[in-house]
């Protein structure tokens, strides 16, 4: 219904003449934007999003290795408590609640931003720990990239942009990998990873046009991935594999009207995930139709936004008794007051699921501006609706589940200094968050299968520290370093039998200490970058995982002739050949090499 109304609105406005281009892709984050971090996109042009995040941020990417599943955990959140957005719309799989970042090429996104901390009031369910926000902008650049690396890793992509009034760009990418890397066991025996091969194909079409007061953009994104599931270190046989097919359509309209900015984002997303052993074991198909409408008025000292989110979800599976549906609708608003010294935000959100209320979500934030030091404070409520699998999976699905619901607060301070060719930014954030009705799949007495229940309470708290500095010594030489350290304690506040946990135990797969350091040296056309990552030990389902530290060396030669740019990059990843695991029994690759050549015409 919202779609139809908005189309009529758009057609009615078509004849008007004034043109105002509004950036179709911005993140509607709160005043608390100092925690907003943009990924280092061009660091490694062949990365998938999981690799981009791992190389630039100190957040935990739960990665099964190679081209296998990779999901994001921010501030102790689970993968389904981390919102993933494409052009302002959530694309988390509605059945699983998560999104696999390993099959998203970073180069497909014009902007990708990682936001620490919840934006539940603005973006709704599932944004408990933070979010990843990806946006597209059609442009006329041409880009060709080809790489080859260890373990049969071939990755090629191309992008071409064209048009004047209607600007379009087409992107394609194909990667295949054997993943037959060696790994070493604790007794020194060396094995080769088996059944790790896979391939993925991505294609995207972006277009944008300004018609009168309307800025319209359309995006289509197809992903297909065919991946074997590698053996664990204690598995010697098997042929498990998955196939994923995703089709995503997105339409955006921006318009200046009555002194404010109107924006409509619409999306239709189809996910088909198949799991095979010797035969097709299960096929999960879900469709999501989403609409998001916002109207924002900005004045000298204040601004306000009103908005409406609507999504209609369907899910089908061999493990569902029938095709299941869910209709979510939410109204949200925010009011911001700004003066010379302070920014002050109040945000409110109320969501309905199939006409039932979910928790009312308020947020209040205040920021002190001016001077070298900025400080911000935020208090907000967070929530996550149960996934379709939580509700309808057979056996076990529990239609009586409540939304996970909690409160969080954080304080952030940032110091910036710039003098001549030297600049420095350092920030410190402290946060706390308590979530009740935490959903756990557990065994109920007298039952023969696991079932989700609102039985846990989790308290997450921690500190995030970053220190970035850059100095240009002369016209040829520039040094920079970015250091990020996160400390996160996320503990059970209720004892559990399955999983067997006591009060105070750290969540599974949640390292307490997470560190990332990027050191870069640029001399003329050459750049050397060294990335160090450290993660402390974490609890697996069966055993404790050892801490690990890895180092990646990236050497890049950049040649620029007018608008033509050629990058040649050579990577030595895991340079110390560290034997480590992120998921228990799933070894990661040791030292490996990769050569990439990218040509770009702007």
């Amino acid at each position: 219904m919202i779609c139809i109304v908005l189309w009529l609105f758009f057609l009615g406005a078509y004849a008007q003449s004034d043109s105002l281009y509004i950036d179709t892709v911005y993140i509607q984050s709160s005043t608390f934007s100092s925690s907003h971090k943009v990924l280092l996109k061009d660091n490694a042009p062949i990365n998938n999003l999981a690799q981009s995040i791992q190389q630039s941020e100190a957040v935990y990417v739960k990665n099964y290795g190679g081209l296998s599943l990779a999901t994001l955990s921010i501030r102790g959140s689970s993968s389904s408590q981390t919102g993933i957005y494409w052009n302002n719309l959530s694309i988390n799989n509605s059945m699983l609640g998560l999104l696999d970042l390993s099959i998203i090429p970073s180069s497909f996104m014009e902007k990708s931003a990682l936001v620490y901390g919840s934006e539940s009031t603005t973006y709704g369910s599932g944004n408990i720990g933070g979010g990843l926000y990806m946006t597209n902008e059609a442009n006329k650049s041409i880009r060709l990239s080809s790489s080859m690396g260890s373990f049969g890793n071939y990755n090629n992509s191309a992008q071409v942009g064209f048009g004047n009034k209607l600007v379009s760009s087409i992107k394609v990418q194909y990667q295949s990998i054997q993943n037959d890397y060696p790994y070493t066991l604790s007794n020194g025996d060396v094995y080769t990873l088996e059944n790790g091969s896979g391939s993925q194909f991505n294609a995207m079409y972006n277009s944008a046009i300004s018609i009168g007061k309307n800025d319209l953009s359309f995006n289509y994104w197809h992903t297909s991935a065919n991946r074997n599931i590698p053996y664990t270190t204690r598995q010697s046989s098997g042929n498990d594999s998955t196939k994923d097919f995703n089709d995503r359509f997105n339409l955006n309209l921006n318009r200046n009207i009555y002194g404010g900015f109107f924006e409509w984002n619409a999306g239709y997303f189809i996910n088909n995930n198949q799991f095979f052993q010797t035969e097709l074991i299960n096929e999960n198909i879900n469709h999501t139709l989403s609409n998001r409408v916002t109207y924002k008025v900005i004045r000298t000292n204040f601004s306000y936004t009103i908005g409406l989110d609507e999504s209609y979800l369907t899910g089908q599976s061999r493990n569902y008794a029938q095709k299941e549906t869910q209709h979510r609708i939410a109204a949200f608003t925010n009011f911001s007051h700004r003066n010379k010294y302070l920014d002050f935000d109040i945000r409110l959100r109320q969501e309905f699921i199939n006409s039932s209320l979910v928790p009312f979500i308020p947020e209040i934030s205040i920021s002190k501006k001016g001077g070298l030091i900025q400080t911000a404070l935020k208090l907000n409520r967070v929530y996550r609706n149960p996934t379709l699998n939580d509700l309808f999976w057979a056996p076990g699905g529990n239609s009586d589940l409540l939304a996970e619901d909690g409160w969080g607060g954080e304080i952030h301070t940032e110091f910036s200094y710039k003098k001549g060719k030297f600049n420095l930014v350092t920030s410190l954030t402290g946060y706390t968050r308590s979530v009740d009705n935490w959903i756990i799949w557990t065994l109920i007495s007298g039952s023969s299968f696991f079932s989700p229940r609102n039985i846990n309470k989790v308290w997450s708290r921690g500190v995030e520290y970053s220190f970035s500095s850059k100095v240009r010594l002369n016209n040829q030489l520039e040094l920079s370093n970015s250091f990020n350290y996160n400390l996160n304690l996320s503990t059970f506040q209720e004892a559990q039998e399955f999983p067997r946990k006591e009060i105070g135990d750290q969540l599974l797969y949640t390292p307490v200490h997470q560190l990332n350091n990027n050191f870069s040296l640029v001399r003329g056309k050459f750049e050397g970058r060294f990335i160090t990552r450290y993660f402390s030990s974490s609890n697996g389902i069966n055993a404790e995982l050892e801490p690990y530290i890895t180092g990646d060396l990236h050497l890049t030669y950049k040649h620029l002739i007018e608008n033509h740019r050629i990058n040649i990059q050579f990577q030595v990843n895991n340079i110390w050949n560290e034997s480590y695991r992120i998921i228990e029994f799933r070894p990661m690759a040791g030292r490996n090499f990769l050569l990439n050549i990218t040509y770009k015409l702007n």
Binding site: S186, N187, I229, G238, Q277, L443, P499, N539, A543, F585
Partner: protein
């Protein structure tokens, strides 16, 4: 549906008789299974006092079961949950078609024989459990672990009970045992193996445990297969009790029979096999040197009376 196939081993007209309940009576076609019993479980031999009961919990919504299913599945190759109803040997005990698959993933299951005494049964691994232990899978470990040296085991514990009350006694049977210093001795049971129950109980409670455990419990698939249950029943409706005795017990090589009239003396192994038969005329001595050490049943019958005694051969 709830019929049973009874192999009468002895005493067709006696006071006691032994039955090997082999589940063939369901007449299942090959490569099929039944996981939804009518009622609380499968009852074999519906004659009053002769029932063998295997519980079954079936969830119609999820089409899942726990406790016991009856199967004729023959797939010994396919790994994984989808092949949960097959036995690793591909057929029932003694080359039969039908067997029972037990699932005790979340506690215990049981078998009871009201009015009878369980003498023993054959047990084997299911294909799902055996291949998971041999090769590992996404969730469970390959036994021996990454290096092959992990002292893994998959253990079936059988507790004895009478009328639902545990006696406190139990026996263990390793469905897989990798605890040997010499890895060549490590094994996963892949052939039907007879487990003897010597305590004269009417009920057994079966639980499984493994060395492979995580926060969500046991990782090894909690399945097992059983067949050819040997059960002894008293049948007081048909005959009077014969006044007879045997001694010494335990016995070395000569068994004294104390009986006041002519009688047939039949000795059965615990598996129900007739191993010695002799006609006596009053008190007599039987030479049983040829019998192996172990438990036996001595069935003494006259034209109108009978009695069954348990005998231990040293």
């Amino acid at each position: 549906m709830k019929t049973f196939y009874t192999l009468l081993l002895c005493c067709l007209v006696g006071l006691a008789h032994s039955q090997a309940t082999s589940f063939e009576g369901l007449n299942l076609p090959v490569d099929t299974f039944v996981n939804n019993a009518e009622g609380p479980g499968f009852t074999f031999n519906e004659d009053e006092g002769d029932e063998v009961f295997l519980p079954n919990s079936y969830n119609a919504t999820y089409m899942s079961f726990s406790d016991f299913a009856i199967s004729t599945m023959t797939d010994t190759e396919t790994a994984g949950f989808t092949n949960q109803y097959s036995v690793i040997s591909g057929s029932g005990a003694n080359e039969s078609l039908t067997y029972a698959v037990g699932f005790a993933g979340f506690g215990e299951t049981y078998i009871k024989t009201p009015g009878g005494t369980i003498g023993g049964f054959y047990v084997n691994n299911t294909t799902y459990a055996a291949l998971s232990m041999r090769d590992g899978d996404t969730f469970a470990k390959k036994f021996g672990g990454e290096t092959g040296d992990d002292p893994d085991f998959f253990l079936m514990t059988i507790k004895y009970a009478n009328e639902g009350i545990p006696t406190g006694d139990s026996i263990n049977f390793y469905l897989a045992d990798y605890r040997f210093e010499d890895n060549n001795l490590d094994y996963i049971v892949e052939d039907w193996t007879y487990i003897e129950i010597t305590s004269g109980v009417s009920e057994i409670i079966i639980s499984l445990s493994s060395s492979d455990n995580g926060a969500f419990g046991m990782n090894t698939p909690a399945y097992f297969a059983i067949d050819d249950m040997n059960v002894f029943f008293l049948n007081t409706k048909e005959q009077e009790l014969l006044n007879a005795n045997i001694f010494p017990n335990p016995v070395d090589n000569i068994l004294n029979i104390e009986v006041e009239q002519s009688a047939n003396v039949d000795i059965y192994s615990i598996e129900g096999t007739l191993v010695h038969s002799e006609r006596v005329y009053g008190n007599a001595q039987l030479h049983i040197e040829h019998l192996f050490s172990g438990a036996y049943y001595v069935n003494i019958t006259t034209e109108t009376k009978a009695v069954t005694k348990k005998m231990i051969k040293k």
